[in-house]
């Protein structure tokens, strides 16, 4: 069976866009209630429990409330940019989903439909490009509100996102070194069949690139402005930062954007490090569509459903980790955040790239074929590096309290030249 072409391809793509966008919005809705329930559980309280069974309809009540509320327009706001900012907050997180492969290809009577909206040849460079424009929503919202708190939040947000973007991009370089390809479906396929001969087991890149996963996840936390990196909306200092002046649906759009971003980062971690839609210990899902249209493996509709389920489970677990971290780690101080980004993460990622490059060169010079031993050697190297890394990042060696450190505590973005 060949991949769909022509008119059927256009129809399939339009269908996928509508379907995936609806699913993403539904997932965002579920993620908000999920977060509030988990927060309730972690703080030993019930969480929302009045609207509908177990409070599950709370999201609909919130949505209706935000739709019907009065929209305020601050007198000092710059009108066009004030209106544009929430759109820019929601846009990158949603269009990022276009390059994420969800499930194994679905056979239909018109041809094989790949479960990815756009299999762009630049793959994760698209992820970096779109991820990098997420800053504008924050920066513009902060600036256009015409309020000092908003401006400070926007400044903090843009500085933080630009800083951690560098580490985010570099943490994916070892992945390219290992796969030699930037397309997301190829990366998933490599994780399913990381052997020279016939595949007998999958090798998810979370093992041979353990430290890379850690760096990517930490930078992802900083990019989504989640705790412990939620300085742009630190409520104790800045009310709620860049969206202080926003109300009703415009505020809601920032929130939807944030949750969509969390889900997107979780999905990206799944694709790059947790094998994408691969089902562990089963070789029936090793389906791959080559660029010339030949299909390896046997796609069926129930395999598509199963792999979609696997993808959903992995992504949900990662979203749970996001929420879990929120109530486990305290917020950084601003100077600590910048120090961690520029003086530690950047250098550590660069060294990591060098080490992985030399190890891969060494393995290939020795002549170990791609497969179990290849991954195992990389895994051992990563374990050793992780040990060194976590020792160096331990509280007291890198992040000091205010009294112990030599620097004064007030290292805010707006006061950078003072002090």
């Amino acid at each position: 069976m060949n991949p769909v072409t022509g008119g059927a391809f256009v129809l399939a793509t339009v269908g996928k866009v509508i379907l995936f966008f609806s699913v993403l919005m539904l997932a965002v809705m579920l993620a908000t209630i999920f977060e509030r329930k988990v927060c309730g559980f972690m703080q030993d309280r019930s969480g929302p429990n009045r609207v509908g069974p177990w409070g599950l309809l709370q999201v609909i009540a919130d949505g209706l409330k935000n739709l019907l509320k009065e929209e305020t327009m601050p007198a000092q706001a710059v009108r066009p940019f004030f209106l544009l900012a929430p759109v820019l907050g929601i846009l990158p997180a949603t269009i990022l989903f276009a390059v994420i492969p969800f499930a194994s290809p679905l056979p239909t009577q018109w041809g094989l439909v790949e479960m990815i909206v756009a299999d762009v040849p630049i793959g994760f460079l698209y992820v970096l490009a779109i991820g990098s424009i997420g800053v504008y929503g924050v920066a513009m919202g902060g600036w256009a509100s015409g309020s000092k708190y908003s401006l400070l939040g926007g400044l903090r947000g843009s500085a933080q996102m630009v800083s951690y973007e560098v580490a985010l991009a570099l943490s994916l370089v070892p992945l390219i070194l290992l796969t030699g390809d930037v397309r997301a479906p190829e990366i998933v396929s490599m994780q399913q069949t990381f052997t020279a001969g016939p595949a007998t087991y999958a090798t998810w890149f979370m093992f041979p690139l353990l430290v890379g996963l850690f760096f990517f996840f930490v930078s992802g936390l900083a990019e989504t402005n989640r705790l412990p990196f939620d300085l742009p909306e630190a409520e104790a200092e800045l009310i709620t930062g860049y969206h202080t002046e926003y109300s009703a649906m415009k505020f809601s759009m920032f929130m939807i954007g944030e949750f969509a971003h969390v889900i997107t980062v979780a999905a990206l971690v799944t694709v790059f490090f947790l094998g994408g839609w691969d089902i562990p210990f089963w070789q029936g899902d090793n389906i791959r569509v080559l660029s010339d249209g030949t299909v390896i493996g046997e796609p069926t509709w129930w395999k598509t459903l199963l792999t979609l389920g696997a993808f959903g489970v992995k992504t949900s677990l990662l979203v749970l980790v996001f929420v879990w971290i929120r109530w486990t780690l305290p917020r950084f101080r601003y100077d600590q955040l910048m120090d961690l980004g520029w003086k530690f993460m950047l250098e550590a990622v660069t060294v990591y790239i060098l080490v992985i490059a030399f190890v891969i060169l060494g393995i290939e010079a020795v002549g170990i074929p791609a497969g179990g031993w290849y991954a195992f050697v990389l895994f051992l190297v990563n374990l050793a590096l992780a040990g060194v890394l976590f020792f160096a990042m331990d509280r007291g060696t890198l992040i000091r309290g205010g009294a112990k450190g030599a620097k004064p505590a007030g290292g805010d973005a707006g006061e950078g030249q003072g002090g």
Binding site: P121, L128, I130, Y136, G142
Partner: protein
């Protein structure tokens, strides 16, 4: 057909964005429209099958450099500066002649010289062949790391020097 239409649409919005950008008095608005121009340019690159250049254009200019511009403008609060950049007939004359020179270069690209085909078509077909062979990243990466290694490294050193210089200038005197 639809590719041509999209290319024209991106080109038109790039020119429109550029015109709006240079006529803005508020620097922040100008930056926002410049970002729009970069996105339109990336769209044009995409329509020309130059995916890698399109992505790099957005990552570097749209996502990093313009964010820094915006950041500095917001930090320094230059919202009220409304000087004109071109002052007097001399400035206008210099600006105008540079524009005409660029227009000449562009015309040369599309009209074609000794070869019968315009330069853009020759480059386009060569690019498409190379991309099919080495992938869109390889087309740019391979020459960079083989043919132009020295140039690449020297550019890197140049950037490093400018970074060190900036830090040296920004550092306060320790007395």
């Amino acid at each position: 057909m639809i590719q041509d239409f999209l290319f024209q649409a991106f080109a038109a919005s790039a020119i429109l964005g550029a015109v709006i950008m240079v006529t803005r008095r508020n620097p922040v608005s100008a930056v926002i429209f410049l970002v729009g121009v970069f996105f339109a340019t990336s769209g044009m690159f995409l329509m020309l099958d130059a995916h890698f250049i399109a992505a790099i254009n957005v990552i570097l200019y749209g996502g990093a450099i313009m964010v820094l511009f915006l950041f500095v403008l917001m930090l320094l609060n230059l919202g009220h500066a409304d000087w004109r950049d071109l002052r007097g007939p001399v400035g206008g004359l210099i600006g105008g002649s540079i524009s005409i020179a660029f227009l000449g270069v562009l015309t040369r690209l599309f009209v074609g010289g000794t070869d019968s085909r315009p330069v853009v078509e020759i480059a386009g077909s060569a690019l498409r062949e190379a991309a099919a062979e080495q992938g869109v990243v390889g087309v740019v990466a391979r020459p960079l790391f083989t043919e132009y290694t020295i140039v690449l490294e020297v550019t890197g050193v140049l950037l490093l020097v400018s970074i060190v210089g900036t830090i040296l200038l920004a550092r306060r005197e320790r007395t």
